[in-house]
Symmetry: C2
Subunit: 397 residues, 2 copies
């Protein structure tokens, strides 16, 4: 048969999302995946929490009929309140990781061709979600203190924009934190030009130094910020539990879209996490995560300083999972990775190509330190440095 | 702020999906939900399977990196093969219940305005999923042996149609089985007019009498049938695990859409069900389900025969969860439910209004017997009969 797919498939079939998946090469050291360190999962506690949930009178195996997730949503509201973001349990929706929040928000707002501002570079999975709604992308480049707001303002003046997507804390893929001044300015711009802001915050509670900036949601006075959170990075990805919080009018519509998409998230996982949060200290667990990831971050930064050629720049993230590598203009990291880094140096990063909507920028790469062991970090970055040096010299000297 | 939602929201905000949710009235007997009987969940076995999955060396808490679901997909391929449907593990994708399959297939095929044929009446959640892609709906009415294929043919001749959606086994909401002749004719029509068929089969293995008809997928020779299945009705809904099987070209595209939508289904739930199927007999469990649901079906049919007024018609389903009630034309079941059945008789069904895309048919209703106790079935149908009789007499006599 000759299938005729919907026009959105022309975009979604070139997301590059599979670049995250590991290589079959046993020698490979991969800095590609934004995976948490599996040795830090609270496995025993989650297993015990599951058993408790299953022993409860109300069987958690059935469809939900209404308020089953109420307790978890209240606990999340408390966590958000402690972080300075006021919301209510009834304005929190459970999602399949934060990823589903990206899909639902684009589904809510984006007609084909509608303007959507993203950071350049941005999270590859966000582009994969948004692509399905065929937006017109506008890119605001990342600076050391967050997205370029002069560019945002120019875009807002020149074009119809429905949505601004940002990861203000330990941005994926740059590791950058948006300054508090820029947060305030971004809210003011959104108010002035009547745009919704989608604040994606999966790494927010993984800060290794310095103090937290207020969330965009906490600065919002007009109900135009939708915030996404997730248990994927702080408990475990396979729970497939994230959350979304939005103002009342958008929230109701998002619930309807969620119902059509997959009816509901798993009550089994909802009750398991409810039991976990009731029985154990999430704060203690977060402390342990921060301690371990800070160590890896320090090793990564030390290795980058030691091994990278002087033409390379990189970010030093205060939290999260990523550092961002920039090579001089004209250096094609995707090409170098395919012809040199992978086959000859057995090391992988995520080249910048697919992290910009236009796929035109090729001299950057995301380096993830979260799931690589200490020994591997040093060895892998040494290989990366050698591979970059030899590729750079071949081309430029 | 003044939100401007995407145009799809005009449809998705009127799905009527919340009609399924139970009433707060403690006296209410509700035949609305298509819920399985919670007393039949294999809770202890699933809890044991979860523990086994958690003890495996490979932590099932991490993101999947590739072949984690291979074993479950092979087991599903075997179950399908035993049912006469040949497929391969690599053409089976795990989804969030069958519901996500509905969303993904519409996402794959439907541009705004594209033709989509549905059965009239059809599954309310399918309309909720499809609405988000703004199809042009065409309705083929249900007959005793499945959808009206004369109507399907006429629609295919007169309009551009991309997709035909059908539940051939124990249809939701009518309980009807499509005859084998109609199955063959439907495949022939789809071949001739180059249309994809979406076969939704969540109740297929819950047959209480008679013999199984071949699945549409088993009759497909051109790779144009996408089949959906689910563990929701046969194990437990809160697993949120269903599956989709499609031909190679469509399958790859559907995987990309799934990744953008929620990255992946829970590996924790995937490994739990893998352990369950390896340790226990699904066939024995299905036998037990069939035995129990057959009993409820019999009670429901006996009660309908005893209590309904003679103006009412109803279907006698050979499997699944539903019987379909039809009152004479002009009888408005939604109105009667709101003004009589609910407040005065404390009984609820799902009126036909939202089960047709045009929402214009009002003299039918879905009656679900799956999650109501034996005593409640008799008492509830008695109330329903009394309510219908008194409403009918008031209006027509």
């Amino acid at each position: 048969m000759e299938e005729e797919f919907a026009s959105r498939v022309a975009l979604t079939s070139h997301s590059g999302l599979n670049a995250i998946y590991p290589s079959q090469d046993p020698e490979m050291i991969s800095f590609t995946g934004g995976f948490p360190d599996a040795s830090l999962f609270p496995s025993a506690q989650l297993a015990a929490s599951f058993q408790k949930a299953m022993q409860n009178q109300q069987a958690p195996l059935q469809y939900q009929v209404g308020e089953e997730s109420q307790e978890l949503r209240s606990l999340i509201a408390n966590l958000l309140a402690a972080d300075g973001t006021k919301t209510m349990a009834k304005q929190i929706m459970m999602t399949q990781g934060a990823q589903q929040g990206l899909d639902l928000v684009a589904k809510l707002l984006i007609n084909k061709g509608d303007g959507l501002i993203v950071e350049g570079p941005t999270y590859i999975g966000a582009l994969a979600a948004f692509d399905a709604y065929e937006p017109t992308y506008y890119t605001a480049d990342m600076a050391d203190d967050g997205m370029d707001l002069t560019a945002v303002k120019r875009i807002l003046i020149q074009h119809q924009v429905k949505l601004i997507y940002t990861i203000p804390d330990f941005q994926n893929p740059t590791g950058v934190v948006m300054s508090v001044e820029k947060r305030r300015q971004l809210i003011a711009l959104a108010n002035k030009y009547d745009v919704v802001i989608l604040e994606d915050a999966p790494y927010r509670w993984l800060r290794y130094e310095g103090s937290a900036q207020p969330s965009l949601k906490s600065l919002d006075t007009q109900g135009r910020v939708i915030q996404l959170g997730s248990f994927s990075k702080i408990l475990a990805p396979a729970l497939r539990l994230g959350w979304l919080t939005a103002s009342t009018e958008m929230f109701g519509r998002l619930q309807e879209l969620k119902a059509g998409t997959d009816l509901e998230s798993s009550n089994l996982m909802i009750q398991t996490v409810t039991e976990y949060l009731g029985s154990y200290s999430l704060q203690d667990h977060l402390q342990q995560l921060r301690h371990n990831y800070r160590r890896k971050r320090d090793m990564m930064v030390a290795a980058l300083q030691t091994y990278l050629p002087r033409e390379a720049c990189f970010t030093v993230p205060q939290g999260g999972f990523f550092s961002w590598l920039t090579m001089p203009k004209g250096f094609d990291l995707e090409n170098v990775q395919n012809t040199q880094l992978k086959p000859n140096f057995h090391v992988m990063v995520i080249p910048s190509t697919h992290l910009f909507p236009g796929k035109g920028r090729r001299n950057g790469a995301r380096i993830s330190f979260s799931s690589v062991s200490a020994t591997q970090i040093d060895l892998g970055i040494k290989r990366l440095g050698n591979g970059l040096s030899s590729s750079y010299q071949k081309k430029y000297i």
